[in-house]
Symmetry: C2
Subunit: 456 residues, 2 copies
């Protein structure tokens, strides 16, 4: 019997051609004109999964774009791995900035160019190839379930309901996702934490109407004075958020975590220069990476009131408006933080200011295992394919669906990405590195093959 | 010989008809279509002044709309009174809100309705009538000069240059102006102080572009955080301006002035309710009237940065903008205050913020005599016509040309108004009270007649 390596090498051209046929389908989920293409992409996946050995592969309706579900059962005693990915892609405009058309995949400089190559059709296809290889060789000894949705690029609207309704069908021991980025080329990373989010709108009023600054200036409250005083009260001078109890639910980083984050390739000075900053700034006592990925924040995203035109208008504004979001970590719950921020704002309302605080969007933070068996297996799998230890990372942004999976299924999540930050996902000339195509299949083959033992 | 009273009563209908003919001229200075009407109004004045006894009455060119100048010389030993007014009027739109057409004067309820009736053709005409009466009776024993411009409603663009060039021709012992308002019906007021103004634009930058609050939040400066911290530093909690040296050139109110301002009809609670405020606010230690007329202020007139749309945008804004104006009093010079505010802003720039402070409009404050002989004469003249003592007032707004007159000619200015705040100047249905028409002529006749003695 040929080795897996031999098999993969021989099959490479055909695999790339097969991925290209998947990439040719214009499955843009946000465009209502692409309904048929969405169906085509789902059907393509079911057909491919069946050919790969999944007897149970089907299109499931969700109320929006359909979802592809497939399973391979080896035995009730074996561990079960659930894989999540998505087959929908971002719109392609501006089309004129693409060197080759977005739905005509082309290889240049060891990169496969096409919309969806990096996000997320390419990575999804790596899982299918790895599983196909193991099934053909009879080496798959874990149960596998695949859940590939078609609405990730338009907010995963129907997925939370689907997860809740199908929790039993999706039951597994670990969730594996390849929809994040590596730290850099040949620098794989396992992301074990994502920040949550909550938003508030602050509307402040001081008078019935704007007032003439000559006739009234000095005698009446100014909505903008009140607003800047109020907003300035939200932070201590050292960058810490001044809202009472804001950090109550934050579990501090462990020594191991801080050590792992400190190993990430990062240069404060280069980072500062690249962003055009005269100085970095944020919560005292934490590194740049810790502050931007593992610590909660409170940011003013927008602020407006009074005259914004050219020149001068001698007006005392009677209204001011601000938009605030917080990034949350660990056990912080968006609703609790919203209430604490609202309480702070109302308690600090300056003389003469009447506030309306409106609670808006929320998303839970996610913090997975830093050293669970599945994480250890992922590390070994990366090492097997790349010859280096992966970094352990936390991401400052939010992927709300990860927390929903985590909460509904109550299982560890392993975020094992093969894309690079530089691969223009969501932009013209999206591409996927063939180096990560090759090493990705090998890493995933290793993960699925060794899971039977490692996750016992 | 008939008494002045008899004369005025007999002439009243003719005087009102004469004023109406003046009001029919559509002298809107901001509309280039009204050039001919501007000339007509100036010619009308010259003709009227000549008929009133002014041998020297002429139209003078200014580079913009012409100015009417007239003089009546009784002797080199007599005091000279310079009167300033304007014959141009505001635009009339929205026309549909006028009960009767703006240039077809109509009397209703003892009010004369027409554009310009209150601002400033009506008051200017009172001076001419008073002087005509005294000349005819041989009772004018002061030299009189009249300077009636046509650009007040479009910024008096050419007047400062005219004043500087014609300082000798305009030389006088006192400047008398009727272009302010009374305190209320039957409540005349002499305004002896006007606030000055200076403006600044603050542009603040922290990064090359807006940044994703997930990826960068907590690690980099936020332009809005920097701006609110910066702007909050401009005031002490008790409402005083915190800019170093801001009050240096402010001479505090005298006991007499405070007593006079305290006599003005004012009710804090009614004022608060009318403006829809939950509280009054401003510099500690001063009354509402003192704060809004006799104390300097610093107001944020506009503030903007980041996302202003509906909903949430998780952005760290890299730019923030603010507009600031100060109202100035006494010896405060706009340029000095601008520099002090700029210095404060630059010195208080938060970490990571780069500021650009742009100096904008300026206008000097004016503080005239509280008790000069001309002011005493004005008080007696009001008392003669209205039977009550006038209030002594300061105005919170700015009339820059008053300070220019004061500076160029270096003479006391008496602001003796006959209009009411409620007379819709600059708005539809402008009107002038016939009560103030009658009493105004009597007050001015008294002023000009008694000036020979009072101003010796």
């Amino acid at each position: 019997m040929a080795t897996i390596e031999d098999e993969l090498e021989r099959a490479r051209a055909a695999q790339l051609e097969e991925l290209s046929s998947f990439l040719r389908i214009q499955s843009i989920s946000t465009l209502s004109s692409q309904q048929a293409e969405m169906r085509n992409a789902a059907a393509w996946l079911v057909d491919k999964l069946q050919r790969a050995g999944f007897k149970n592969a089907e299109v499931l309706e969700t109320g929006g774009h359909p979802l592809v579900f497939a399973s391979f059962h080896v035995g009730d005693d074996a561990p079960t791995i659930l894989m999540y990915g998505h087959y929908d892609v971002q719109p392609v405009d501006p089309l004129e900035l693409w060197t080759t058309p977005p739905f005509e995949p082309k290889i240049r400089d060891q990169k496969l160019y096409a919309r969806g190559a990096s996000d997320d059709k390419g990575p999804v296809f790596l899982h299918i190839l790895a599983l196909e290889t193991l099934i053909r060789r009879g080496e798959l000894r874990v149960n596998v379930k695949l859940c590939i949705e078609g609405e990730e690029e338009c907010g995963s609207t129907n997925l939370p309901t689907f997860l809740e309704k199908n929790a039993e069908r999706l039951r597994a021991d670990v969730l594996l996702i390849s929809d994040t980025t590596m730290v850099g080329p040949m620098q794989p990373g396992i992301c074990y934490g994502l920040r949550g989010l909550c938003a508030l709108q602050v509307d402040l009023k001081t008078a019935n109407s704007d007032l003439h600054s000559g006739l009234y200036g000095g005698a009446v409250p100014n909505a903008l004075h009140a607003m800047v005083e109020l907003l300035a009260s939200l932070h201590h001078p050292d960058g810490r958020v001044a809202v009472d109890g804001f950090y109550d639910e934050v579990v501090d980083l462990t020594m191991d975590e801080r050590a792992a984050l400190a190993e990430l390739p990062h240069d404060d000075e280069a980072y500062r220069k690249a962003l055009g900053l005269t100085a970095l700034f944020g919560e005292a006592g934490y590194t740049t990476i810790e502050r931007s990925t593992a610590r909660p924040t409170l940011e003013i995203n927008g602020l407006y009131g009074g005259f914004q035109g050219e020149g001068t208008k001698t007006v005392i504004p009677h209204e001011a408006h601000a938009k605030i979001t917080c990034r949350l970590v660990n056990q912080q719950t968006p609703a609790t933080i919203q209430e604490k921020v609202k309480k702070h704002l109302l308690e600090h309302a300056p003389i003469g200011a009447t506030l309306t605080v409106t609670l808006q969007d929320t998303g839970n933070p996610y913090l997975g295992s830093f050293d669970a068996p599945a994480v250890e297996l992922a590390k070994k799998s990366y090492e097997h394919a790349y010859g280096v230890q992966p970094y352990m990372t936390r991401m400052g942004g939010s992927i709300p669906i990860v927390e929903v999976f985590h909460r509904v299924l109550n299982i560890p999540v392993v975020l094992m990405g093969f894309s690079l930050m530089t691969e223009n996902f969501h932009a013209p000339n999206e591409h996927f590195s063939l180096e990560n195509f090759d090493r990705g299949i090998r890493a995933l083959t290793h993960f699925y093959r060794e899971a039977a033992t490692a996750l016992k």
